[in-house]
Amino acid sequence: MADLETFRTQTQGWLEVNAPKSLAGLPLAPDGGNWGGRRAHFDPPEMKPWLERMAERGWTAPTWPREYGGGGLETDQAKVLREELSRLRMPSPLTGFGLTMIGPTLLRYGNEEQKREHIPKICRGEIRWCQGYSEPGAGSDLASLQTRAERDGDDFIVTGTKVWTSYADLSDWIFVLVRTDPRAKKQEGITFLLIDMDAPGVSVSPILLISGKSPFSETRFEQVRVPVRNVIGEIDGGWTVAKALLGHERSMIADAFGGGAGQRKGRGGSPLADLARRYLGNGSGRLNDAVLRDEIARCELDERAFHLTVQRARDAAKAGHQPGAESSLFKVYATELNKRRTELAVRIAGPQGLGWEGPGFEAEEIDRTRQWLRARGNSIEGGTSEIQLNIIAKRVLGLPD
């Protein structure tokens, strides 16, 4: 405890000197911070020294081992660091799938050589990673993947297509699942591979969504040569690695929907009611349209009840309880609710809810239209609502297959 206070004092001292004051309270870009990489774009420029100083101390990945460039901190120390950063309102120096996804996977499943090669670069933000799991036609049935890797000496020759690779156009390396044994049962014969996006035969094309531009791409591999040493885990044993990573991803998504939503929304304000006031007016203090008013209240009640449930899960965790069944509903409920909310907002706007581009529509009207369209994907990506309900029925309620 005394040590922890010492650590806090030291951290405060270090941050006092090293944290660029100009970054304090910086509103982060919509895609949420500095993603690093070979083509890193530091905005504002002070992000660069901030990243370098933090990386030098290993504090871009505070709890990872020091030997690979992490901070080697204990959990409680990392908490102190977070608290101090938060107190100074400093933005995170680095984010991305390296830190959140492939890094932890390498630490668990990578061999010594792989860790030494990749983790330090992740910690320093030198390499930006993306994920290649989904394929055209696979959907929820991830293991039905078709991208194949054929052995040729010390290399694999990879051919196939991955979809929904977020930010593939901005990434340096990709981790993918490939089929190395086409005769094996579906979930066997899959291998987890790391591929340099600069390798000949890799091409990336953007995916346009119904809502417009998106961070998603389709990534094609045409006879791409990948050294066998880039296999993580066993050859033909990639499903184990993938499942672990996927579990990690799903809990991140649940956190994002639960935690993010919970933090973002306080008690104040009724954005939908404000919107309705604008489009419908309110006589004598009440919205003019009693039916829409009821729908708005319904939506707000659902939202509040959901946030209370997130809080309940968090309070239970803080009190040292095992995660309860309630967390299984976060993803499906948050996404379905977001779909309803964005639809309701468009309906409140009425004919002005149909804007795609100006003129005649305000920027915020056009945003609203696109948010509604984009939200339709919430219940598909990261495990469809149907899959979520299956999981609740099976794992929580114990209903038979």
Binding site: A297, L301, D302, L308, D315, Q388, N390, A393
Partner: protein
């Protein structure tokens, strides 16, 4: 506000669950109904609950209570709600008891609350009228000045547990028109008072309720609970607390109905497989699970907000009642449907849950009423 049970609260919940399971099976509710039991609940069981300290939970230690709050009381009501126990927590501890606690003078509290907490004396609250629906300010019963006191005339409906009550609290209008917010006064009328007549009603949920007729009942200054003409605000606070209690009952009974249905889905076979393996039933079950979990959060939050007298306590009460009403009906309807034909028979217990769900929905305001209240309190 912490949405997690303390160790003491967990112990209480467990004690209630065990008690309800052993001492209060649903067959008891059926017997009370079929025997047309004049009390409508078990006085003996009530005394036991009082001895266990449950009746006294929300009352101060000075009258023998535990000086705890709704956070604890909802655990008792949820546990008893699981088995549809009809003991008079709602009428006596919440409606009547909270009116005495929030509105009563020290002398009134000293006189009545100790007996109430001991489980030897019952109080009931008569506030609902034919045309009042869910509007607490809609009171047609009039109290006209008469001598140094008042003379009450009017009729109240569906007064819970009035037949067993030693004291009936009655709202009456001492000034203003039928729907005015001000001018409502709460009077305490003794059992057997001249001009007071009760008639037992039979509701679909077979919970004990009565018509209360006031035909020139006289009341003195000492019989007023709270201040003359300010009973409207008092009623809103009292009914908010009772609503949280009712929501806890609903949470208990919807949880039990859902669990019974889940068990049935796992056991019952059709076409050679358990019907719980049919995906559409699975998804519907998962949806119900979600609704129940959200209700649990809402009930916990409402109880704690009222206990702490938080600014948005009333909103959270409406949140809880709106969501519990919708969820209770959903779960009850789905439970009967998933049980199939036997669910339609009086012989099976699931129908009791359906009836109770409807009665609870239509008490203290339905979901639409509370969404309207939420919007009003949110100023839109």
């Amino acid at each position: 506000m912490q949405l997690v049970l303390t160790e003491d609260q967990e112990l209480l919940a467990k004690t209630v669950a065990d008690f309800a399971k052993e001492r209060s099976p649903v067959s008891r509710v059926r017997a009370l109904r079929d025997n047309r039991d004049p009390d409508g609940f078990s006085r003996a069981l009530w005394r036991e609950m009082a001895e266990l300290g449950w009746v006294g939970i929300p009352f101060p230690e000075s009258v023998g209570g535990a000086d705890l709050g709704l956070a604890e009381l909802v655990l008792v009501l949820e546990g008893l709600g699981r088995k549809l126990a009809p003991e008079p927590f709602l009428s006596g501890v919440l409606l009547g008891g909270q009116a005495l606690l929030l509105g009563g003078s020290p002398a009134q509290q000293e006189k009545w609350l100790p007996k109430l907490v001991e489980g030897e004396w019952w109080v009931s609250l008569a506030y609902q009228e034919r045309s009042s629906r869910y509007d607490l300010r809609c009171v047609a019963t009039r109290a006209e000045p008469a001598g140094t006191g008042w003379c009450l005339n009017g009729e109240k409906i569906q007064v819970l547990d009035a037949h067993t009550a030693d004291l009936i609290l009655v709202t009456a209008r001492t000034s203003g028109e039928e729907r005015d917010a001000a001018g409502i006064t709460l009077f305490a009328i003794q059992r057997g008072a001249a001009g007071l007549r009760l008639e037992r009603q039979h509701r679909v949920d077979s919970r004990s309720a009565s018509l209360v007729f006031l035909d020139g009942v006289t009341a003195g200054v000492d019989d007023i609970i709270g201040s003359e003409g300010e009973g409207g605000d008092l009623m809103e606070r009292v009914v908010d607390r009772a609503t949280v209690g009712l929501c806890a009952e609903m949470l208990g009974s919807m949880s039990e109905a859902f669990e019974r249905t889940l068990t049935y889905l796992k056991q019952r076979e059709q076409f050679g497989v358990p019907i719980g393996s049919f995906q559409s039933l699975k998804h519907r079950a998962a949806q119900q699970f979600i609704e129940i979990e959200l209700c649990r959060s809402a009930v916990m939050a409402a109880a704690r907000a009222v206990d702490a007298d938080e600014d948005d306590a009333a909103k959270l009460v409406s949140l809880a009642k709106a969501r519990c009403s919708d969820a209770a009906i959903l779960v009850a309807n789905e439970s009967v449907q998933m049980h199939g034909g036997i669910g339609m028979t009086d012989e099976h217990e699931i129908g009791f849950y359906l009836k109770r769900a409807r009665a609870a929905e239509l008490s203290f305001g339905d979901a639409a009423f509370h969404r309207d209240r939420w919007a009003r309190l949110s100023e839109y």
